[in-house]
Structure formats: structure tokens, C-alpha cells
């Protein structure tokens, strides 16, 4: 299909009517939609009050100015990682109990009943039951709340490793 195919042009025209966020605040909010823990973004510690207070306090211990800046940033970064770790641990993806516990074999008559007014074929019912079964398999594979939070927290190991290595290096080289 060429770029100027009528269907493409229609799609582009219709896309202009789409209702996405228009205000600055709305765009900013929607930019965070897929944010999970925020640990991949570069933090701006230098402008925070905590950072300056930490630098002043660490300087009293006889560290050089560069070392103080490194240690303060390292400490705040490590705390940021551990806060994300806690948040991930305490809010795992919720378990869909209905989907997990439902009896798939018993679902076919229900689908048949739901689809019968539209004159559906047995094939449609089979496909819908198969789709339902695959969703259930996915849900069961994720396990219960403890398995989910373990899987999610496990993904943060590398951030923790990098965070503590940065802090430790700053302190020992200071």
C-alpha cells in the first residue's frame, strides 16, 4: 500500500481528531504512563536541599569538596534505589482471582449462550474459550502475590548493585 493510498490518508485525517492530552500538565502526566520505577532516569540531586545539607555535613568530617559531592550523590542515589525497591515489593501486580480460579471447561456453554444471539458459529465459541484459557495460563504462570513481588523485586538487583558500588567507591576514595 503506497503512502498516499486513500486508506492511509483517511487514517491520517482521523488521527488528527484523536483525543490525546493537549495541556502541558496532561502531556506531562501521560509521559509517565509507562514509568515503572524511574531508576533509569538521570536524577538531579545537585539542586535539592537535601544534597546541599548532606554535602555540608560530610565536609565537616574532613572529606574534600569533590568527595563530599560524590558521597552525598551516592547516598541519595542509593536511598532512591531502596525506596523503589520497597515500593516494588509492597505493590505487586494484583492477582485476578476470577480469571485464575475459573473453570475453563465450564466456560464453553457460557460463551455459546453469550454468542448465540449474534448467530455465532461453534468455531467462534472454541476460539473464545481458547483465548480465555490462554489468558488464564498467563495469569497462573505469574503465580500468587509473593511470586509476583519476588519477580518484580528481582529486576531491581542491578540498580541496587550499581547504587551501592557507587556509594562505596565514593566513600573509599574520599
Amino acid at each position: 500500500m503506497t503512502p498516499n493510498h486513500p486508506r492511509n490518508l483517511t487514517n491520517r485525517h482521523n488521527a488528527l481528531k484523536s483525543t490525546g492530552p493537549r495541556s502541558v500538565a496532561g502531556k506531562q502526566a501521560s509521559s509517565q504512563n509507562s514509568r515503572k520505577h524511574g531508576l533509569n532516569s538521570a536524577p538531579d540531586f545537585e539542586s535539592s536541599l537535601e544534597y546541599r545539607a548532606l554535602v555540608d555535613l560530610i565536609a565537616e568530617e574532613g572529606f574534600s569538596a569533590f568527595a563530599c559531592a560524590d558521597i552525598a550523590a551516592g547516598l541519595l542515589n542509593y536511598r532512591r534505589v531502596m525506596d523503589a525497591y520497597y515500593d516494588t515489593y509492597t505493590s505487586p501486580e494484583p492477582v485476578d482471582e476470577f480469571l485464575r480460579d475459573a473453570n475453563v471447561k465450564a466456560s464453553s456453554p457460557i460463551f455459546r449462550e453469550l454468542l448465540s444471539p449474534s448467530g455465532s458459529e461453534p468455531q467462534d465459541v472454541r476460539e473464545m474459550a481458547a483465548f480465555f484459557a490462554s489468558m488464564q495460563r498467563q495469569e497462573r504462570r505469574k503465580g500468587g502475590p509473593v511470586s509476583r513481588r519476588t519477580t518484580d523485586t528481582h529486576k531491581l538487583i542491578r540498580y541496587q548493585r550499581n547504587g551501592i558500588a557507587r556509594l562505596s567507591r565514593a566513600v573509599r576514595q574520599g
Partner: protein, 212 residues
């Protein structure tokens, strides 16, 4: 002013140790506890670690508080291992009795927990025993199968615990480094003060003296 026996001089202490040690903590977000965890237990662990510090500087205290948090996470993850096993056992039991069992997995999980703790009601005990019979399982069989099922997640928890141990090693090395640095600085100050006290008029000032 404190009197140092070794060097025979007085040393100035600007700020009480207790005040200094707590000054860095308010700038770091405090570790959060889960609803069923005891804050008193957490604080007592922290205090016992702090009491082992020879030189509780603010930075050392901040690092020790992170170390205490690591110990706390190890404790949480160790409990998680048992919970994972329990979760897998409930899943297997539900699978075994899914064709007749009216209740969902959650109810079965609670019943299993009570059954294992020995505080199950008659209904709960019947439900578990019926499911075990239906699946042709004994409790130890169930546990073995559940361990096999949950092995992947248990391995993940082991990784998490291992990471906390590694973090603790890093923190310990940092604390040692701060301790060593402060001792070195103190020792140099004392040696300088001793030199100055031995040569009150011109001794330590030889560097500033005019060349002859």
C-alpha cells in the same frame, strides 16, 4: 577538653557524639516498615549496631542504618521463601480438587495456613484432607512437589538475599574506611600537638624559621 594519656595532652571535642551521629539521618529517607513489622525491633537492631561503632560520625551512622536495613530485608526475604512454598502448596491443592471444590484458591490458602499451624477448624481440615485425598497426596508429597514448582522463585529470593549480603560487605568496607580515615586524622593531630607541646618556643615552627 579530654585528656589523652598516650600523648599527654588535652584534645578538644567540639560536639557531643550523640548529636553528631544523628545529624545526617534526617536528610535520607527513612526505611519504611510493613504493617505487621515491629518498629521497636527495627530500632533495637539499629541501636545494637550503632553501639559497636568506635567512632560514630554522621556518615558512619548513615551507613550503619543502611546496613541495618539490609539485615531487615534478609529477614523479609527469608520469610518470603516459606510463603512461596505455601503459595505453591495451595496452588497444587486447588488443582487437585478444582473439579469439586466450591471455594477459590484464596480460601484454600487460608485453610492450608491454619491446617499447617494446627489451628484449623473442622471445615478447613476436612477441605484440606479431601483435597489431599483427591490428589492422592500426603502432606510431605505436597511439600516436595510445591518446592519443585516454586524452585524458580525460591532461587530468585536466594539471589535477593545474596545481593543484600554483597551490599552489606560494601557498606562494611565503607565504614571501615571512614573509621581508618578518622583514626589517621586524629593520630596526626595528636602527633602534631605533641610536637608543638615539646618545643614551645621554636620547635615545631622550624619550617617557618628564617634560613640561617
Amino acid at each position: 577538653m579530654l585528656y589523652n594519656d598516650h600523648f599527654g595532652i588535652y584534645v578538644d571535642v567540639a560536639m557531643p557524639v550523640e548529636d553528631k551521629s544523628k545529624s545526617l539521618l534526617p536528610f535520607l529517607s527513612s526505611p519504611k516498615l510493613l504493617p505487621n513489622e515491629s518498629e521497636a525491633e527495627f530500632q533495637s537492631g539499629l541501636q545494637s549496631l550503632l553501639s559497636e561503632l568506635d567512632n560514630p560520625s554522621p556518615l558512619a551512622v548513615a551507613l550503619v542504618s543502611q546496613l541495618n536495613e539490609c539485615l531487615w530485608w534478609i529477614k523479609r526475604h527469608t520469610v518470603d521463601k516459606e510463603l512461596l512454598l505455601h503459595e505453591a502448596m495451595a496452588r497444587l491443592l486447588f488443582k487437585a480438587g478444582s473439579h469439586w471444590m466450591p471455594s477459590g484458591n484464596s480460601k484454600l490458602s487460608v485453610a492450608l495456613e491454619h491446617y499447617l499451624d494446627g489451628i484449623a477448624h473442622k471445615e478447613e481440615a476436612d477441605l484440606i484432607e479431601q483435597a489431599l485425598t483427591g490428589g492422592n497426596l500426603t502432606l510431605s508429597d505436597l511439600r516436595v512437589r510445591a518446592f519443585k514448582d516454586a524452585a524458580k522463585h525460591i532461587k530468585m529470593v536466594d539471589d535477593l538475599i545474596h545481593r543484600q549480603h554483597q551490599t552489606m560487605r560494601h557498606l562494611q568496607r565503607s565504614i571501615d574506611s571512614i573509621d581508618y580515615k578518622s583514626r589517621l586524622l586524629k593520630r596526626m593531630d595528636l602527633e602534631l600537638a605533641a610536637l608543638e607541646s615539646k618545643q614551645p618556643v621554636k620547635g615545631a615552627l622550624t619550617l617557618d624559621a628564617e634560613p640561617s
